[in-house]
Amino acid sequence: MMAKAHVTTTINGDPVEFLCDVEQTLLDVLRDELHLTGSKEGCASGDCGACSVVVDGRLVCACLMLGVEAQGHSVETIEGMATGDRLHPLQTKFLEHAALQCGVCTPGFLVAAKSLLDRNPDPTETEVRYWLAGNLCRCTGYDKIVRAVLDAAAEMRGATA
């Protein structure tokens, strides 16, 4: 059997080392090796966005990246979104707007929405909808999610103004 690869990376700001098989995706590694199960597997083919993470500032599907590719890079997951006991404004707005029902797509939506607001603090509804088109939600019909993102953006603009 092939020896596992040794990978040194940064996850949510912390240095992390892990061993993995080459065929393991970053999502497999996060979930099965590091037990960071906030990133979800809905499809394993990049079609649902439930495993959205940010790698070196880019939003990607963790299921479409090999674990070994994380070597030397920086990965941000849902587990790193809140600061200490303070939720990110998007997390707060998702709760206030009831922008989740079952909640399994929620981590992916939050990571994706944060990546949008990091780039575009004042998106239109259409921009939000297209940015989030790779995140499937079967429960909400998207309405409350879009409202929560727009409201969080407004609040964050106010906070930074």
Partner: protein, 766 residues
Amino acid sequence: MTDGSQEKANGATRWIGTRPVRPDGVDKVTGRARFGADVHLPNMLVGKVLRSPHAHARLKSIDTTRARSLPGVKAVVTRDDFEDLPSEFVPAGEMLVNYRDIVRNVMAREKVLYEGHPVAAVAAVGERAAKEALDLIEVGYEVLPHVMDVEEAMAPDAPLLHEDMITAGVEPAPETPSNVAKVVEFGHGDVEAGFAEADVMVEREFRTRPVHQGYIEPHSCVASFSEDGQAELWCTTQGHFIVRGHCAKLLGMEVSRLRVTASEIGGGFGGKTVVYLEPLALMLSRKSGNPVKMTMSREEVFRASGPAPGTCIRVRVGVRRDGRITAGEAELKYQAGAFQGSPVQLGCMCAFAPYDLENVKVTGYDVVANRPKATAYRAPGAPQSEFAVESVIDELAKAIGMDPVALRLKNAAKEGTRAAYGPTFGPVGLVETLEAAGAHEHYRARLAPGQGRGVASGFWFNIGGETCANLNLGEDGTIALVAGTPDIGGSRAALCLQAAEALGVDVETIRPLIADTSSLGYTFLTGGSRTAFASGMAVIEASKDMIGQLCERAAKIWDIPVDAVEWVEGEARPAGANAGEFESLPLADLAGLAGKTGGPIVGRAQINAQGAGPSFGTHVVDVDVDRETGRVEILRYTVIQDAGKAVHPDYVEGQMQGGAVQGIGWALNEEYVYDENGRLENPGFLDYRIPVCSDVPMIDTVIVEVPNPTHPYGVRGVGETPIIPPMAAIANAVEGALGIRFTDLPMSPPRVLKALDEARLPEAAD
């Protein structure tokens, strides 16, 4: 002793109707919440299923020798590991399942009946070994002709799935077997006499394709068997008590030896009311002695779970010029999939339920075909039949020149209407939703040229059923609310609000928990839109039980009769001047004194909730159609629905919005594509196209509240009704835009363009 909950039914409420943050919310926005696949146990094995590549074949042999000898493989199970079970129907959601079929669906016995049908399962140390082991299992198949389509399956020369299946519900019983499992009939009056009175009659045939529930979380479970025959199971399910029952039956266990914990559930919509992996994981764990985790891939979810049935439906309705419907008739043929038990009966019962008809007749056929066994999907059976009827109603309105809302109002079912399926309605809110639709700004807004507007209504029964709930009073006066219905969309919040209302305490003092099957009495599943209603009723009953105990304690402290104590706004007070002068005792004080006044206080309820009020809804939709590509765009959408009483309006709106968008997917793009060998060609979210965020506009909502008299606060289930009207509303809107009536779903671009081209041909010839 009296309590405040009844008085508040018609008066102001403090908590019902408010929108607090859900108690499980933070876990779900931080990734902390544990869903089905998030459980890891020491020494856990990976379980995998070998599935049939054939749609229909006799299973001649299964040789697992090589797989079992592969290093790392700890257990292999096949049909030989499960005892056969006799025919016995048991409820699963609103539908019935048969143990004889379940044992065959989780593991094929004599034959494989659909592509993806399990034939073996393995447990191994790690993903790689488990996959390799599957490749080493040798299966001898004798491939048989297959049949996919419901009408083809009904043909006399169709390949038979079950050689011994004699159609039930036909007198005299047929002498030869067929793929028709059952014929059902509902109705009253004389439809032919009714049609004779009609000025205009429309008869149409409709076809709908199977659609998948499309929950984002695949099925997943972890089973752990111990050497003394006890087992634990963690799984994503809408009903862990149902899972316990099915698994115990299939494994020959006593239910007390199997403890099932429902994980957080990543969507279900009816699709997680049955067992697939759970009995296999338990059997693998029993054989290996290790915990076993099994998770379906998305592809397995599509090939082997769900769907809602494809249908062929003929509808005939007659109407007088004044708009009175004189008769309605329908014939419904539903695909059950590999085993009997499509929701055709429910489809029959709902088809004409929105209308007050003197003459109505509905006949349904439950037909097996070489597809996965149909599973409940949000109002199972109703979206298809009501799509057909609501399309015909629209056509009739046009034919007699009447506004479609007015036509519906003229014939709307109301309190006292005898439904086509038998019972007489109590207070129901169809008229109110129609009036709200007609008065809505959306319904009057001007359409641009080429756009179309459609309207349609929908009906769903809702159910109650066996339900337990406990309220454990802590020593500081806060409360643990223990329920048995998995929270699939915010029901913890709805239950806490009802308890807070009944107890008169701050909702934040109540923390909910979904108990495992050993920690609470039997509780039926989350389904049938029953959770806010039935678990709500149980919680209210448990609150009353607790209030009774609290009043007794206060009576004891004050040394007065318990009748002289009343519970008001979360505290015990002397009931009137004659009871004596005492300082009122708040809940927290009574909780703190519980040890000295008789011991711990637990409010309990075990009920069989009856009187779930039906919910009606009416949807309005505007569309535009790209005439060159056939793509339909949803421009505006409004959902109006009777919630009885919206406990947490955000989550009621969420149900309305989510159901509508599922309906949009069903109407426009969702369908299974099979090749000529009965193999699914689109088993993924890439080509099974559920709506994405940019496909839809905001979904406006109007909550109508016609209280359900059997619930203390008037609650009706709301979850299922919203998926019923969209297909007809959109078809009606497309008809408005193009003048073309679509009777086949989905109205996908190729189908729409083809119809447009056919409609253009006569024009071109002019």
